[in-house]
Structures are given as C-alpha cells and as structure tokens.
C-alpha cells in the first residue's frame, strides 16, 4: 500500500550537502526523539497546571495503564513496520487470546496455565499471519484486515453477547498488582520489553537486518538475508506481545468480552508513527516509540482529568497521527520554496 511515486518527493533534493558532520550532541538535540521529549515535558507541565490531581503519584501510576498494554505491542509493531510490513490484527489477537484464556479458566485452569494459554494463542495468531505473509507472499495489510475479522469473529462465535468473568485472584496480579510502591507490574513489563526490543533493534544483527529489509528487501535478499524467515519471526513477536498484552488487559479488567481491545490497532500504529517510525519502513527507533507511548498516555490521562469524553480523545489521536506526519512534510515543502 505504499505509494512509490510520492515517497521520492519527501527527500528534498535542492538542499545543500553539509561539508562536515554535526557533532553527536547536536544531532541528538535535533532528533525526532528530542522533539517528542520536549512535547512530553510540555504536556506534563500543562497537565499539572490544568488539574491539581495530576501530580499525585497514585494518579500518575494509574495513568500508565493508558499506554503500557498498547506500548508492549507497539515495540514489536515498530520492528514490523520498519521491515515494511504491518499488522492490523493486534486488537483481534488480544480478543482471541483473552477468549482462549476465558475458556481455559472455565475448564478450571490456574493462573500459570492461563498465562501459557494467552502466550500460546498470541504466538499461534502471529504464526498464522506470518505464514500467510512470509510463506505465501500475500500483502500484510489485507491479510491482517482478514485475520482481524477472523480472530475477533471467533471470539464472537464463542461468546456472542455474553462475557467470561471470575478469573482466579492470583491472575489479577498482572494487571492490578504492584512491584513496589506505585510501580505497577505492567509498567515493569513495559520497561523490560522496551529494553529487550531496544537491544534487539539497535544492538543486534537481527535489528540491522530488519532495517535492511525495510529499506530494500530485494537488496537484502541478494545480501544473503532470509527475508521471509525474518518477517515470519517479526509477525511471531507481534503475536507474542499481543498475547502478553492480552494477559495484562484481561487481568486488569477481570473479564473478557468479544469487543475487548477494539480499536487497539489504530492506537498502536499511532504510537509507532508518532515515535518517528516511517510507515514506509526502513527507519525509526525504540526510544522514540517509548516517548511516544508516554506522550499518548499523558494526553489521554490529562484530558480524562478534564472530563473530556473518550471519543473526543480519539479525534485528538487522529489529528495527532496525521499532524505528526504532515507537519515535517509541510515544513520541508515550505523550505524548498
């Protein structure tokens, strides 16, 4: 679904080539991540001025739930988008994994089994997407629109308009537990995931290969990279992270409905794109995604404190998604004139 002719237009050709490289510090200050960080701090200050309840540590701790589950998926999705693919079925994977856990719970499974069921369902869904995209060479956007209907459709078949409730009390730890003081279990999982994916993308061969595939998968193939296998693994990772998110979300809500995590795919893609990952593949970073997730969480939480309804927040998310991509392009166009 990428648009070949327009993408060449983003690289301003008329700009002079600098005769020396900028210092690392100057580059870091001018980076997308630095800009995001400024935005995050600004939103933080605005929020604390707008509402007296914002700076309460327990409120801030609650606010992290606005992004932790989505961000876990966003890390894997970032790698997937960098490699030039996309997965729109993540919300549906959560629904299916949550439904599978509900079925296991009704069969009398304890917390460890529930967790295994959630992870296995996520992996299975990811493998299914990966198989269709990598093995059969089908376009990921349509495949995952199809599996999005299929996975959530299975949840609807199982649950109809009913819900699973009554998860064991030990299971509540993942979504409602605290490691110490106000630090939630989900926040710790988020931090560990950020670290692992950061190392994977920025410090390993696998990460370099991911960029290579996203920039030119034909060249990557000729360099001896097994493009299909890497893409399959990336879909598997996205499925796995969706499974982990399903465990957290199900545990936090304490129930499963087929409409669980509806619209997650949009927010996850928004976090990834807001984090500076090019939707066309080939560039982006995990620190950017981390800051973008925090920005999203702060915006949502701040607006919630101001009693802004959820659907208005979704308008703001939509504007944010288009705005963050449009503004740099408008800026580049203005500079070329």
């Amino acid at each position: 679904m990428t648009d070949m002719t327009e993408t060449h237009a983003d690289h301003p050709t008329g700009r002079a080539v600098p005769d020396r490289l900028q210092t690392p510090l100057a580059r870091a200050l001018k980076s997308w991540e630095a800009l995001l960080l400024v935005v995050a701090v600004a939103i933080f200050i605005l929020n604390s001025l707008a509402s007296p309840y914002f700076l309460d540590p327990w409120n801030l701790s609650d606010a992290t739930f606005n992004f932790t589950e989505k961000a876990m998926i966003a890390f894997a999705m970032a790698l997937l988008i960098i490699s030039g693919e996309i997965d729109l079925s993540v919300g549906a994977i959560i629904a299916l994994a949550s439904t599978a856990m509900g079925l296991a719970m009704q069969a009398g499974a304890g917390t460890p089994v529930l967790v295994l069921v959630g992870l296995a369902t996520g992996l299975a869904c990811g493998a299914f997407n990966g198989l269709l995209v990598a093995r059969f060479g089908l376009p990921s956007i349509v495949v995952t629109i199809g599996t999005m209907s299929l996975f959530r459709g299975i949840s609807y078949i199982v649950l109809g308009d009913s819900a699973f409730t009554g998860y064991p009390s030990g299971f509540a730890w993942f979504g409602q537990g605290y490691v110490f003081w106000v630090i939630t279990v989900e926040l710790v999982i988020f931090a560990i995931a950020a670290l692992i994916f950061g190392i994977l993308l920025h410090r390993t061969d696998f990460g370099r290969i991911t960029y290579a595939i996203g920039n030119n998968d034909t060249a990557a193939r000729f360099s001896g990279i097994r493009v299909e296998r890497i893409k399959f693994i990336l879909f598997l990772l996205t499925g796995l992270m969706s499974g982990i998110a399903a465990i957290c979300l199900t545990s936090r809500l304490g129930s499963t409905r087929p409409s669980i995590a509806a619209g997650f795919e949009l927010e996850v893609v928004t976090i990834v794109v807001l984090g500076g990952v090019s939707i066309l593949g080939g560039s982006g970073s995990i620190p950017g995604v981390v800051i973008a997730a925090v920005v999203m969480g702060l915006v949502t939480f701040g607006l919630g404190l101001l009693n802004v309804p959820g659907i208005v927040m979704s308008i703001i998310m939509g504007l944010l998604l288009i705005g963050v991509i449009a503004l740099p392009r408008l800026w580049a166009m203005a500079r070329r004139r």
Partner: protein
C-alpha cells in the same frame, strides 16, 4: 483477458453454488422477490465497494468510508430535522462526502502521506465529529420527515429506489472505467505509476480523484442508510469499512493496484450480502458473520495471488483486445 474472465466466472459460479446450497434447504430464499430484497439490502455495500475499488486501483486504500457515511448520514438527518427539503439534502450530502474524501485525497496527493495512515486518522476524526455535533444523541424515526424516510423505499418497476441507485451507479462505473480518460488513468496509475507519469498522467491528482469519488458515494450512501434504517447515531456502519475492503478483495480487485473490474467488485459485494442475509435463514447465529467474512477475505487474497501474477500485462492484453 481469459484470466480476467475466468476469475469473474469462478466468482459467479461460487455465488450460484452458494445460492443452490441455501435453496436445497430453504427454497424460498431464491425466489425472485427475496433475491431482489437481498440485492437492495446489499446496495450500500456495493456503492461503497465501487468507490473503494477506484481507490484501490490507484494503490491506495480508504478506511474512512464508513465513518464518512455515518457523518454524512447524521448531517442529512440533522438537515431534515431543520426542515431542509430532500432535493437540497441529497446534493448537499453527496458534496459533503466528496469534500471529506477530498481531505483524504489532498493529504495523499500534496503531502504524500500513505493513504492507510491518512484514512486511519480521518476515520476516527470523522466519527468523532458526529459525537461533537450531537453529543452522542440518537435521531430516531419519529424525528425524521416522511419524505426523508420514504425516498429510498419508494418502489419503481418492482425495485426500491435504493436498488435503482445501485444499478445506476454500477452502470456509471462501467462507463467511467472503460470509456473515459480518468477511468483508464486509474488503471494506469495503479498498474505502473512511473509509466503513468511518462504518459502525462499525474499520479497524485488521479489518486485525489479516486478519493473524491469514494467520498461522494459514501455521502450518498450515508443518506440512504439513515433513511432506510430510520435511525442515526455515532456508531452506525461501525466496522463497515472492513466489509467494503472484503467485498473488493473477494471481487478480485488487486490490492497492489491496477487490476480489477466492476463486475468482480459487484459480485464480491453480493457474495457477502448473500451470506449475511442467508445466515439467519439457515439458522446460524449472526455472530458467525465476522469470522466468515474474515475467512472469505483470506481465501480470496490467496486465490487472487495465484491468478494475478502480472496485473500490468492483463491490462495491456485487454487494451489490445479492444483496439
């Protein structure tokens, strides 16, 4: 040409088999009056799928069509509530839909933002706007004027107006895609954007035109939807964009752009429409529909990938054949 023909023939055959299977248990389903009812019921899907088809032909995708439909439908209902006559409402909603489509088109054309990102964003923005307009309130049947509600249901020559509109749009699309420069440009842009540029076709402007057409159809369908079901609220046609894309994919519209036909698109929509209408008759819970359309999408793309190796060549053959 053979490939193209056979793909549509196979889809037609699949529809006939589907009808035959249903008929063995419920003969009443295939009576002409019921088939006409299914066709009318599927009209909104066909209208949106045709709009989506031209967008997909140009290598884009429009995920905002259902939200566009809902917003235009709500504004039609609000205008009706303010006493605006139907003859004014109709052109207004079509124009509004075209404007909403043009917003997508401008972002894709002038800023070069990938269409999936643009329309994921505008999807939430358009639907959120309905909430801003109404505060989440519903507009129910008793708040709509009789003329407003009656128009799509008015029967002319045995078919309701809604079905006739679908027939007219289908005929219009056949002419547009085979007999106009713009129609051929859709295929050219999708088949090979670089070659299209060298033949003097602006890729961006053609994509813009596709979004405007898709938007205008969504606006029209918005009125038809709200008037037929006699209710307007924030979530009408929620998730319908997936059905629309599904209809296109099942109809053999290549998601990579440049290949697909009106006949395939219409049959793709009818295939989904028949399944949707048959489920309650056959006694399967409507909760199965989502999984069935998901499976249908996957089967269709797997099938398309087999038959659709070189879309560019197919078009050339078609052109040769015509000349």
């Amino acid at each position: 040409m053979n490939l193209l023909k056979s793909r549509e023939a196979i889809l037609g055959l699949a529809i006939l088999v589907l009808l035959a299977v249903i008929a063995t248990r419920f003969p009443a389903f295939v009576r002409p009056d019921n088939l006409a009812r299914v066709f009318t019921d599927t009209s909104p899907l066909m209208l949106l799928a045709l709009g989506q088809m031209v967008v997909i032909l140009t290598k884009c995708i429009d995920l905002s069509v259902a939200a566009n439909l809902a917003l235009c439908g709500m504004i039609a209902a609000l205008m009706d509530g303010a006493g605006v006559p139907l003859v004014v409402i109709l052109p207004m909603v079509i124009a509004l839909g075209a404007v909403l489509g043009a917003v997508n088109g401008v972002l894709v054309w002038l800023l070069g933002i990938p269409s999936i990102v643009v329309t994921l964003g505008t999807m939430t923005i358009y639907r959120g706007t309905i909430f801003l307009l109404t505060d989440g309130a519903w507009i129910n049947a008793h708040q709509m004027s009789d003329a407003f509600k009656a128009f799509p249901r008015a029967v002319i020559l045995g078919l309701p107006v809604m079905a006739w509109i679908a027939v007219a749009v289908i005929a219009g699309f056949v002419l547009l895609l085979s007999r106009t420069a713009l129609g051929r440009a859709f295929y050219a842009v999708g088949g090979n954007p670089h070659a299209a540029v060298y033949t003097g076709i602006s890729v961006g402007r053609t994509q813009f035109a596709a979004f405007v057409i898709a938007g205008a159809l969504a606006g029209l369908t918005g009125y038809l939807w709200v008037a037929r079901y006699a209710v307007a609220y924030v979530d009408i046609a929620g998730g319908f964009e997936l059905d629309v894309v599904a209809a296109c994919v099942i109809g053999g519209i290549a998601i990579a752009g440049g290949a697909g036909s009106v006949a395939g698109c219409v049959m793709g929509a009818l295939f989904l429409g028949i399944i949707k209408n048959a489920l309650p008759v056959v006694g399967i819970s409507p909760f199965w529909q989502m999984a069935i359309s998901g499976s249908a999408i996957l089967i269709a793309i797997a099938f398309n990938a087999r038959t659709n190796r070189a879309p560019g060549r197919i078009i050339l053959k078609q052109a040769e054949h015509r000349a």
